[in-house]
């Protein structure tokens, strides 16, 4: 419980702060397991993308999407460790090809909402007064709409497409980031090093980007990691409802949606995609918890 005063953005100090955090993070074995699992997923996602580019989607079309009805719903075997799905496609390949949808779309949605929310929060916190009032009231209203309902409304209005799903998830996370950044800005705004920066003639943009934002990084990273987990769940949920990514794309939620029909005959088509989603979310949550403990030891119990 050693109280640590937040060090301002001064280059050297800042770096040692991150190094210190990494040192603490490394000690947390469970969080490291999450990190390693995620790194493996990232490698899979990139590899599948590379294969698609190299083979001009030929491999994807002939192995991941192409149906082979005579062998449908085969249980796991040596040749197909995860079995075959309802159209006779190899579940292992579909799972591998599905990684990128969950991971990249979840991350992209959060990056978008982090940028928009971050800018709104920074403006709100830095300028205060009327601007703050208007932005934050709007955020309150946005927050008052459950994210899934907002996503449903957007998808209902614009149709089910990858972009719309992404947009829906991104919008629903904006208030979270706006609030996080605003709170960080408020805590550092009136400290001396900001006044010093102003005194040497820095303009508002420089002050926000160089001095205030680095101080908001820790909570943003933690929120972001946990946000990606939430976003992946939402994307999978929407796809499961048939409102997100559409078959035959091997997105895990969409795979589950199809598998439902065969729940009596073949458990593996239901269990495997869900397990994939769960492990990904679990890894992100483990890492998010670990990051929170590492970046802000005061919060640790």
């Amino acid at each position: 419980m050693n109280k640590k005063t937040d060090t301002p953005a001064a280059g050297k100090k800042q770096r040692s702060l991150w190094q210190e955090a990494w040192r603490r993070f490394k000690k947390n074995k469970i969080a490291m397991v999450g990190l390693v699992f995620l790194l493996i997923l990232i490698v899979i996602a990139i590899s599948t993308q590379v294969i698609d580019l190299a083979t001009h989607n030929q491999f994807y079309l002939s192995h991941v999407v192409k149906q082979n009805l005579k062998d449908r719903l085969q249980p796991p075997s040596a040749a197909h460790p995860f079995g075959l799905d309802e159209f006779g496609r190899d579940m292992l390949l579909r799972m591998l090809w599905g990684v990128r949808y969950s991971l990249f779309m979840g991350t992209l949605a959060i990056v978008v909402s982090c940028i928009i929310g971050g800018v709104l929060g920074a403006i709100s916190g830095y300028y205060g007064k009327q601007i703050d009032n208007v932005i934050m009231r709007f955020m309150d209203i946005l927050l008052a709409i459950p994210s899934m309902l907002l996503a449903i409304a957007i998808v209902a209005a614009f149709g089910t497409s990858l972009t719309n799903v992404l947009l829906a998830i991104a919008i629903s996370y904006i208030p979270t980031f706006a609030r996080t950044v605003r709170a960080s800005v408020l805590t550092v705004k009136d400290q001396e090093f900001i006044e010093a920066a102003r005194a040497i003639g820095c303009n508002d943009a420089t002050i926000i980007l160089q001095y205030i934002l680095p101080n908001a990084m820790a909570p943003i990273i933690v929120q972001g990691t946990l946000g990606i987990a939430g976003a992946i769940l939402s994307i999978a949920g929407l796809s499961f409802l048939g409102l997100g990514i559409q078959p035959p794309t091997p997105e895990w939620g969409a795979m589950l949606s199809n598998a439902r029909t065969y729940i009596r005959d073949a458990w593996h088509v239901t269990v495997i995609p869900g397990l994939g989603i769960m492990l990904t979310i679990l890894a992100l949550n483990l890492m998010g918890d670990g990051l929170r403990d590492a970046l802000d030891p005061r919060l640790k119990n």
């Binding site: 009231r137 998808v155 209902a156």
Partner: protein, 316 residues
């Protein structure tokens, strides 16, 4: 206290206007032509124009919004594009089923989450604590629809104990058919509440006033409930309040898995058939319900936190 409640009620009005406007705005950006959807492909241009005029589609957005809100106050949400039945009637008909599911799920979450969190905190780092924290983490990470499917496979298909689809008629069968959906929907909330209760209790557990209470000779049970839990409750209530948002999303998924005849299913079906008024009615109704639930949570706050209570007590 009344003053506080009235103040919160007044604050609700701009939020409801904002929420309904955003939802109305988004759904009215829909590119489809409602008149064509109602009249079908064979309709003539004149017929379409007449229908548009009748639906008020030529008015500016704000006018249409005001019109819609005026109707809403009288329980009028327009009619379905699909079969011209009253949206309000459908929503009111389906809502109780969703409410039953949500309340049952929250009960499951509270009954599991709070005791587990308390025990975990009191026996920090014990085997029991470690196991419940791992389970809670898995619970948080579990996609609700997948959990539902696993439940169906195990309890309905393999063991045959409970029905997997629909809502039973009559109290007994209804409750029986409620068990699986309620556990499915409540699990992730239970996990979140467990984690929140634990961390909130741990904050309180080493406070000086706990030592004071023990130094008085108060027994451990009373220390735990009267002194620790009452103080830990405020963040727990926040967590419970936030869970309602997740529950609404989760309810749509759970209702789909278990064919539960609630608002969520109605909404999903309506989106698929592009029945915009029905979707709009469902979303607005649920969003308003959600703000009301938040208001109730805020009021419960005031009862638990004397800092708010005493502020308003004098102005009874």
């Amino acid at each position: 206290m009344h003053k506080y409640i009235i103040k919160r009620l007044l604050m609700l009005i701009p939020v409801i206007i904002g929420v309904t406007f955003i939802v109305f705005f988004i759904l009215n950006l829909s590119p489809g032509d409602p008149a064509a959807m109602i009249l079908g492909d064979q309709a003539t241009a004149e017929a379409l124009a007449m229908k548009r005029e009748e639906l008020g589609l030529n008015d500016p957005m704000l006018v249409r919004y005001a019109h819609y809100m005026g109707g809403l106050l009288h329980g009028d949400m327009g009619v379905s594009y699909k079969n011209s039945i009253s949206v309000w009637g459908q929503v009111v008909d389906r809502f109780p089923n969703t409410a039953i599911l949500a309340v049952a799920a929250i009960l499951v979450a509270l009954l599991i989450g709070i005791p587990t969190g308390i025990i975990s905190a009191k026996k920090q780092y014990s085997a029991m604590d470690n196991i419940s924290m791992v389970l809670a983490l898995i619970g948080v990470s579990m996609p609700v629809f997948w959990l539902g499917l696993l439940m169906v496979i195990l309890f309905a298909l393999k063991l045959g104990w409970l029905p997997s689809q629909g809502m039973g008629v009559g109290l007994g069968p209804m409750l029986k058919s409620l068990i699986l959906p309620a556990i499915t929907l409540g699990t992730s909330s239970a996990a979140v509440i467990t984690r929140m209760t634990r961390s909130s209790m741990l904050e309180v557990i080493r406070q000086d006033y706990i030592s004071t209470a023990r130094a008085k000779g108060v027994d451990e049970r009373t220390v735990t409930y009267r002194h620790m839990l009452k103080n830990a409750l405020i963040p727990i209530i926040t967590a419970v309040g936030l869970q309602f948002s997740h529950l609404l999303g989760g309810a749509m998924l759970t209702e789909t898995v278990f064919s539960w005849p609630g608002l969520g299913r109605l909404m999903v079906d309506s989106i698929k058939s592009k029945d915009i008024p029905m979707v709009l009615g469902c979303v607005i109704f649920l969003a308003v319900m959600f703000t009301v639930v938040n208001l109730i949570v805020d009021i419960i706050y005031a009862f638990v936190d004397p800092r708010i209570k005493s502020l308003y007590r004098r102005g009874k």
